[in-house]
């Protein structure tokens, strides 16, 4: 068979299998993003709280999840949760069998890693906003939550955007690791195709190109968003 037949959609080719892998990869990255951002934001808030214990706790969180290899975090979550849930089932004496979803495990693990990096980005963005912005808001009698939402947050997003864009690229690349816990993403699907057809270079080359195209598309979208966010920036 020629390369085109191998990559075609339908019964003979692997095109549809690989396309479903692309879908999984994109879904996983997009599903992780909001959680990672949200947790990262709250960890950043905790890092600059007045409360000593909260600060330390947030610092420990980032130190741990930035220090561990992403692959190891993934295995820890995947196997650890499986064992934990099994134990809970035994303790509660439930009569159910439970299969831990590798998509959820991937989401949790990538979310932990993403949020710990994101918290650092948010933290430095917070520090880049002058104190006068808060004080000005308070002087006008604006409530604290409103100052946060309408004055600080819009500026924060703009400052944090380049850093977050970098993290998105990292996240996209890290999704390749979930193939190791059996999720049918790009790497796994092309890997299966490579093993079955013995055209290893072709299929791994395809996954290489697919990731490259995803990165290319992301950088186009990101530069659009950045242009949008800078619209209000007076020069």
């Amino acid at each position: 068979m020629t390369s085109w037949e191998l990559l075609s959609f339908g019964d003979l080719g692997w095109g549809d299998e690989i396309a479903s892998g692309v879908l999984i990869t994109i879904t996983l990255a997009l599903a992780t993003l909001p959680f990672g951002l949200l947790i990262g934001f709250f960890v950043a808030l905790a890092k600059q709280s007045q409360e000593w214990s909260l600060r330390t706790a947030a610092d420990i969180y980032t130190t741990i999840f930035r220090g561990l290899p992403e692959l190891l975090t993934l295995f820890l979550v995947y196997f650890g949760m499986q064992i934990a849930i099994q134990k809970i089932i035994v303790i509660l004496d439930l009569d159910i069998s439970f299969e831990f979803n590798s998509f959820v495990a991937g989401m949790i693990a990538l979310g932990l890693v993403f949020s710990s990096y994101a918290s650092e980005v948010f933290l430095s963005a917070f520090r880049a906003i002058p104190l006068g912005q808060y004080e000005g808001g308070f002087a006008l009698g604006v409530r604290k939550s409103v100052v946060m939402r309408l004055i600080i947050f819009p500026q924060l997003v703009r400052i944090a955007l380049p850093g977050l864009a970098n993290l998105w690229m990292l996240l996209l690349k890290d999704t390749a690791l979930v193939s190791a816990i059996g999720l049918a993403d790009i790497v796994r699907q092309t890997g299966i195709a490579a093993r079955v057809t013995k055209h290893a270079f072709l299929f791994y080359g395809v996954s290489f190109l697919l990731f490259f195209v995803l990165a290319l598309l992301s950088s186009i979208v990101i530069s659009r968003i950045e242009a949008f966010s800078e619209k209000g920036d007076a020069r």
Partner: protein
């Protein structure tokens, strides 16, 4: 904080109660060799990558459009795709060309997962290091070049004695981050049958189904990264002490 204290105590208690001298005898030494494999892999590929990154960084700085475009695409391609896929492409993918590689007599090199991992890691880190170096060289103000020019100092000497020392201070922190990233990234070679720290951990886990195997790996990786980070902080403090006011 309460959560982390509880988690820390729980972790120590878990490791303490599941301590098994028999497993320690059997797998302790494996972890040690795995650790050495990981560190060797990182050290070799960082060093080789540093050499390869030099021409790429100069290519990025070059005024020649073709050279600039070539080195830019190298950097963009290797930074835009996952390291895991690069390793797979080299280790499994090049197997397709076995006959051709055999004819060239270099199949022996590509047959070994260890060599392929080193090659992939070197090419990957070279792209990142080239960007670090380029950024650092460009961060040195233009006036430094012009000042040296007006004193009649040759360009190469200017670069060597004036630009590079200033650039390397800027590059220090990113280099440290890159080493840490490589230590963490090296865990993926376990997926191409190299028995580094992660590989030994997976093997031990698949034989014992004992979760503490992964916990121990986490502890080791954490210690390596923290030690590196602190060494680097100390190094930076010492090398930039003339810049402190």
């Amino acid at each position: 904080m309460l959560f982390w204290t509880a988690a820390g105590i729980g972790l120590i208690w878990f490791l303490f109660t599941s301590w098994d001298p028999e497993k320690f005898d059997k797998y302790g030494i494996k972890y040690w060799t795995g650790l050495q494999t990981t560190l060797t892999l990182v050290a070799v590929s960082i060093a080789l990558g540093a050499i390869i990154s030099l021409p790429i960084a100069f290519g990025r700085l070059s005024k020649n459009k073709i050279i600039g475009a070539l080195s830019f695409s190298y950097v963009y391609i290797f930074r835009g795709t996952p390291l895991l896929v690069q390793v797979f492409l080299i280790y499994y993918g090049l197997g397709t060309f076995r006959a051709e590689l055999d004819a060239l007599g270099i199949w022996i090199f590509f047959r070994d997962a260890w060599n392929c991992a080193i090659l992939a890691f070197t090419l990957n880190t070279a792209a990142y290091q080239a960007e670090i170096l380029r950024g650092a060289i460009q961060s040195v103000p233009k006036g430094q070049w012009e000042g040296a020019d007006s004193l009649g100092i040759p360009r190469w000497k200017t670069f060597q004695k004036i630009i590079l020392p200033q650039a390397l201070i800027v590059a220090l922190r990113p280099y440290g981050n890159e080493i840490i990233l490589m230590v963490k990234g090296s865990a993926i070679v376990a997926l191409v049958t190299v028995f580094d720290l992660m590989g030994e951990t997976r093997r031990a886990y698949s034989r014992t189904f004992d979760f503490q195997m992964y916990i121990w790996a986490a502890v080791f990786y954490f210690v390596i990264v923290e030690v590196l980070r602190n060494i680097w902080n100390g190094l930076e403090l010492r090398l930039t002490r003339h810049l402190k006011r």
